[in-house]
C-alpha cells in the first residue's frame, strides 16, 4: 500500500488501520510504504507505474488524488491511470492556530489577520491546496464591509 505522505500522519495512520483490517479477508499481510515528496505526487506516480496485479494499492486523499493534480506537473492522470476501489473516510478541515496566537476567537482572528497581513505565516506542503482554496474563496467572499478577507490571501505560495 503506497502512502504518499510521511509515517505518523493522518493518511499513514488510516493506511495502517486499513491494512490490518483488510488482512483477514485477503488472507495476507499488506505492507504500508511511505513514498513522500513533491506534495504526494511522487508516491502517486510510483503507484501509477506499478504492475496492475493487485499487489500495489494507492491510498490517497483530497490532496494526493485531487488537489495535487492541479498544482504539480505530473506524468500520470488521476482518472485514466487508476481504478478506484472504495471511498474510505471523511473529516472536516479546521482553521487552527498556534497556541501563542493572540486572537481568542474567530472574530479576533479575522481582526488579527487584517491587522497583520504580512506577519502571519502559513504552512507548506500537503495542506497547501486546501489553504489555497481558502485564499481564493476569500477573494470571492470578502468579509462584509471590507476588501480584506477571512484568511488573508497575502502570499499565494507554498513550499515543498
Amino acid at each position: 500500500m503506497v502512502v504518499p505522505f510521511p509515517a505518523g500522519g493522518p493518511t499513514d495512520t488510516l493506511g495502517r488501520i486499513m491494512s490490518e483490517g483488510m488482512r483477514p479477508s485477503l488472507g495476507q499481510t499488506i505492507v504500508v510504504e511511505n513514498v513522500t515528496g513533491a506534495g504526494s505526487t511522487i508516491g502517486v506516480g510510483r503507484a501509477a507505474e506499478a504492475a496492475p496485479d493487485g499487489y500495489t494499492l494507492s491510498l490517497g486523499n483530497w490532496t494526493s488524488h485531487m488537489g495535487a493534480g492541479a498544482l504539480y506537473p505530473v506524468q500520470y492522470d488521476l482518472i485514466r491511470d487508476f481504478e478506484p476501489i472504495s471511498l474510505l473516510t471523511f473529516a472536516p478541515m479546521l482553521i487552527v492556530a498556534k497556541n501563542e496566537m493572540p486572537a481568542k476567537d474567530a472574530k479576533d482572528l479575522i481582526a488579527w489577520l487584517k491587522a497583520n497581513p504580512d506577519k502571519h505565516r502559513q504552512p507548506p506542503s500537503a495542506q497547501a491546496a486546501p489553504r489555497t482554496y481558502v485564499d481564493s474563496i476569500s477573494r470571492i467572499r470578502p468579509a462584509p464591509g471590507s476588501s480584506s478577507c477571512l484568511i488573508v490571501a497575502g502570499r499565494r505560495r507554498c513550499r515543498i
Binding site: 493522518p10 493518511t11 495512520t13 488510516l14 488501520i17 486499513m18 483490517g21 483488510m22 479477508s25 485477503l26 504492475a51 496492475p52 496485479d53 493487485g54 500495489t56 494499492l57 494507492s58 491510498l59 490517497g60 486523499n61 483530497w62 488524488h65 493534480g69 492541479a70 498544482l71 487508476f82 478506484p84 476501489i85 472504495s86 471511498l87 474510505l88 473516510t89 471523511f90 473529516a91 472536516p92 478541515m93 479546521l94 482553521i95 487552527v96 492556530a97 498556534k98 497556541n99 496566537m101 486572537a103 474567530a106 482572528l109 506577519k119 505565516r121 495542506q127 491546496a129 489553504r131 489555497t132 482554496y133 485564499d135 468579509a143 477571512l150 484568511i151 499565494r156 505560495r157 507554498c158
Partner: protein
C-alpha cells in the same frame, strides 16, 4: 503540524483528525470547522457559517485505488476486503477515535469513488488553478 505546534507558522487549515490531540491538550487553538455542521469531536468549535464565512466547506476524504489494468476480479476482491474492514468493530472504533466519518456502505464501491473523485476535481481544480500557486522546492 509540528511547525504549527512549535510556533514556526501561525495558522493553517488542517485535516481535523490530526489536530484533535493538540487542541484537546491546549497546544493549538481551533477557530472554526469548515463544514455545515459542527464536528462531534470538538463540539465547542463553531462552523465557518457561524463565524461569517458562509459556504466555506472542505471535506477531507480518503480513498483507495489500484493501477489501471488491474483485473476485475482482483478489484472485486480488494473492494470486499475494504468493506469487511470498514464493518469490523475494532476498525470502526479506531477510526471514530480519530474523528473520522466512515463512508456509508453505498459509498464503498468503485463506481461511487469514481463519481465522487470526478466531481471533486470539477469542483476544486478551477479554484486551485485560479489561485496561480508557485510551488517552491527546498
Amino acid at each position: 503540524m509540528q511547525d504549527l505546534v512549535g510556533g514556526q507558522i501561525d495558522l493553517m487549515c488542517a485535516e481535523a483528525s490530526q489536530t484533535l490531540a493538540y487542541v484537546r491538550s491546549g497546544k493549538l487553538k481551533a477557530f472554526a470547522v469548515m463544514a455545515k455542521t459542527r464536528w462531534p469531536s470538538l463540539p465547542d468549535v463553531p462552523t465557518t457559517d457561524e463565524i461569517g464565512a458562509p459556504g466555506m466547506y472542505i471535506s477531507f476524504w480518503h480513498g483507495l485505488w489500484v493501477p489501471k489494468g488491474t483485473p476485475k476480479e482482483v478489484i472485486v476482491r480488494l473492494n470486499a476486503a475494504v468493506v469487511d474492514a470498514l464493518r469490523d468493530t475494532t476498525v470502526r472504533e479506531r477510526l471514530a477515535d480519530l474523528g473520522l466519518v466512515i463512508a456509508t456502505r453505498e459509498q464503498q464501491t468503485p463506481t461511487a469513488l469514481a463519481a465522487f473523485q470526478k466531481a471533486e476535481i470539477q469542483k476544486w481544480w478551477p479554484f486551485i488553478k485560479a489561485a496561480n500557486i508557485k510551488v517552491e522546492s527546498h
